[in-house]
């Protein structure tokens, strides 16, 4: 299963200042570790919201709002896309990440991505029944 791991913005990240080279190096090592474990599908850092925009939808109306945006803690500063076996595993990997913003508090949010693994919705009734029978047989139920 896949998880989107989002690094929430901070006051510093919103200034657009580049991170300390030491942190860049640590992040590089961490990304390498993720890749070597076959966990990392993608990942990128985002410019501050002052270089972005929002499009507000309201009925048929579209309103463009230029950044920056005030609610810093709700903003995203970067993301990874993980492929792991469970939320637990995603959490363990995130805990091993270097602190993205040393010196200030920040949060990293982990969210599961919808994908084919959630295939129950398209599983035909016959297929579901067969699967169930097999599972029953294997677990020793009648």
């Amino acid at each position: 299963m896949r998880f989107m791991v989002m690094v929430r913005a901070t006051k510093d990240s919103e200034t657009g200042a580049l991170p300390d080279p030491k942190l860049v190096e640590e992040m590089g090592k961490y990304n390498e570790e993720l890749a070597r474990a076959g966990v990392l599908l993608a990942g990128e850092g985002l410019h501050p919201s002052s270089r972005g925009a929002r499009v507000r939808f309201s009925g048929s109306k579209r309103t463009v709002i230029d950044g920056p945006f005030a609610e810093t803690k709700e903003l995203i500063a970067g993301y990874w896309l993980f492929q792991v076996r469970s939320l637990h595993e995603a959490i363990e990997w995130v805990k091993r990440a270097p602190n993205p913003f040393p010196g200030q508090d920040s949060e990293v949010e982990i969210r599961r991505v919808y994908e084919l693994a959630d295939f129950d919705a398209v599983l035909t009734p016959e297929a579901r029944e067969r699967e169930q029978r097999l599972q029953d047989k294997l677990s020793g139920h009648p």
Binding site: M1, E32, E33, A35, R36, A37, G38, V39, L41, A42, L81, Q83, R85, S86, H88, E89, I91, E92, W93, K95, E115, L116, A117, F119, V122, L123, T124, E126, A127, R130, E131, L134, Q135, L138
Partner: protein
């Protein structure tokens, strides 16, 4: 908001146990790989790893999950090995070799040296996929040792009883011990052959998930994901091997189509009919990048890289009608050279029919008609029937499609073929060109 300081004493006991198991599974391959280099015995290495897990289950609920859990587990396993060495005599002949390596030296951190870790994992992969083992034993051992899956999980994935898997693993280890398979990284031709066996096992796992040979016939995403992950790991630790990159590319590209392969009613959707909007762009991007790495200058592409190249042609085409069929024909020509098989020939014929028309393809298909391994294979008359219809030989074509229907294994496919036989119209129209599936060249 519920905040639990993960790993702290505040976290519930069962929560910590879950965390321990998760961490163990994440670390188990490196742990067993590192330990088996030290003790040169798979069984013992696994036992020591298990001992380390038990120690973690005892300690971590109190102490919290350590900062470097992999290093902690390795150190625990090594201590355990030293204890045993001191206490027990059954280690016998291993004693001398062990004493040197397991001395008081500090435990090497499993994440300290990428190259060493890569070699350990590769060595473990070579042993788990050793040619002296039967294919199903290799698969079970690889999933257990390289993916850290439990026997119960492997059994569930393959829809066989757990005892069967457990027996396979026990027997496989015995076979390895009896054959005195060394823990080594072979060089030259031997390395090539052993690597081929590893790749074959990974692709087998992938296909079992992608096109299951038994059970419900349904995708098993977990197996595909394990294979993809193994492929990515191997591509990282053996980046200089074109076929490792080729296999990774092939799996990424095939997996990119997973969501589009099945219709709303659960029916299979042929490649050329698939909604390309549902193809996974992340996986396509990864697949194309791996394929680029597979193309080593001055070396001909191997079978996996060639199949990946064919898959890439489809991935690159914005619509089915924009498929570069001449290039696919050339790639099948190359594939038929390096890995000839009747099925490759049949797929080549389909590609030729799309690139050059039905008459040229008919020659290839007719040459296959006496092929014993395709006797009873419904796709042969299916392709032939379609070609006959396209050539205007309607009655002969309908007869072939009915023959294909009689051979088809699934009721759904039989129905589809009988409908096509009844209509008597080819799926592909000659002009204006609107290429649709003549037969499934790939899924």
């Amino acid at each position: 908001m519920k905040a639990s300081t993960a790993g702290s004493v505040a976290a519930g006991a069962s929560e910590v146990r879950d965390a321990v198991r998760t961490v163990f599974r994440m670390e188990s391959a490196r742990l067993v790989a590192g330990l088996s280099r030290l003790v040169r015995d798979l069984d013992l290495a696994e036992e020591l790893a298990q001992d380390a897990l038990v120690a973690a289950l005892e300690r971590w609920p109190e102490s919290g999950v350590p900062d470097r859990p992999g290093a902690w587990l390795m150190a625990a396993a090594r201590n355990r090995a030293v204890d045993r060495l001191r206490r027990e005599s059954w280690l016998g002949r291993r004693r001398e070799a062990l004493a040197g390596e397991l001395g008081p030296s500090p435990a090497p951190a499993p994440d300290a040296d990428g190259a060493e870790l890569g070699d350990d994992l590769l060595r473990l992969a070579f042993v788990a996929c050793h040619p002296v083992l039967l294919p199903e034993a290799r698969v079970a051992l690889a999933l257990r040792l390289l993916c850290g899956l439990g026997t119960d999980e492997i059994a569930r994935a393959f829809l066989v009883p757990e005892t069967t898997v457990a027996q396979r693993i026990v027997r496989a280890k015995r076979t390895l011990a009896e054959a005195r398979v060394p823990f080594e990284l072979p060089g030259g031709a031997e390395r090539e052959a052993r690597l081929a066996s590893v790749l074959q096992v990974v692709y087998l796992v992938f296909n079992e998930g992608y096109a299951p040979s038994s059970g419900t016939g349904w995708l098993r995403p977990a197996l595909c994901e394990e294979a993809l992950r193994l492929g990515r790991v191997l591509a990282r630790i053996a980046p200089e091997e074109p076929e490792v990159q080729g296999l990774s590319a092939l799996m990424e590209l095939q997996a990119s189509r997973a969501a589009a392969r099945v219709g709303p009613g659960g029916e299979p959707v042929l490649l050329l009919d698939q909604d390309r909007g549902r193809w996974d762009r992340v996986l396509i991007g990864r697949g194309l990048a791996a394929l680029e790495r597979a193309a080593a200058p001055g070396r001909a592409l191997g079978p996996y890289a060639l199949q990946a190249s064919i898959a890439a042609c489809h991935a690159r085409a914005p619509t089915a009608s924009e498929t570069d069929w001449p290039r696919i024909v050339a790639l099948y020509d190359a594939l038929a050279q390096v890995a000839p098989s009747p099925v490759v020939e049949l797929n080549r014929a389909v590609a030729v029919s799309m690139a050059l028309g039905p008459a040229a393809a008919m020659e290839i298909v007719d040459a296959l008609s006496e092929e014993p391994s395709l006797r009873g294979y419904h796709l042969l008359p299916c392709v032939r029937g379609e070609l006959l219809l396209r050539l205007g030989r309607v009655e002969a074509g309908r007869a072939e499609l009915r023959r294909a229907a009689a051979l088809a294994a699934s009721a759904r496919e039989r129905k589809l073929l009988l409908e096509r036989a009844a209509s008597g119209r080819p799926v592909v129209r000659e002009a204006p060109a609107s290429p649709r599936a003549a037969a499934p060249p790939a899924r």
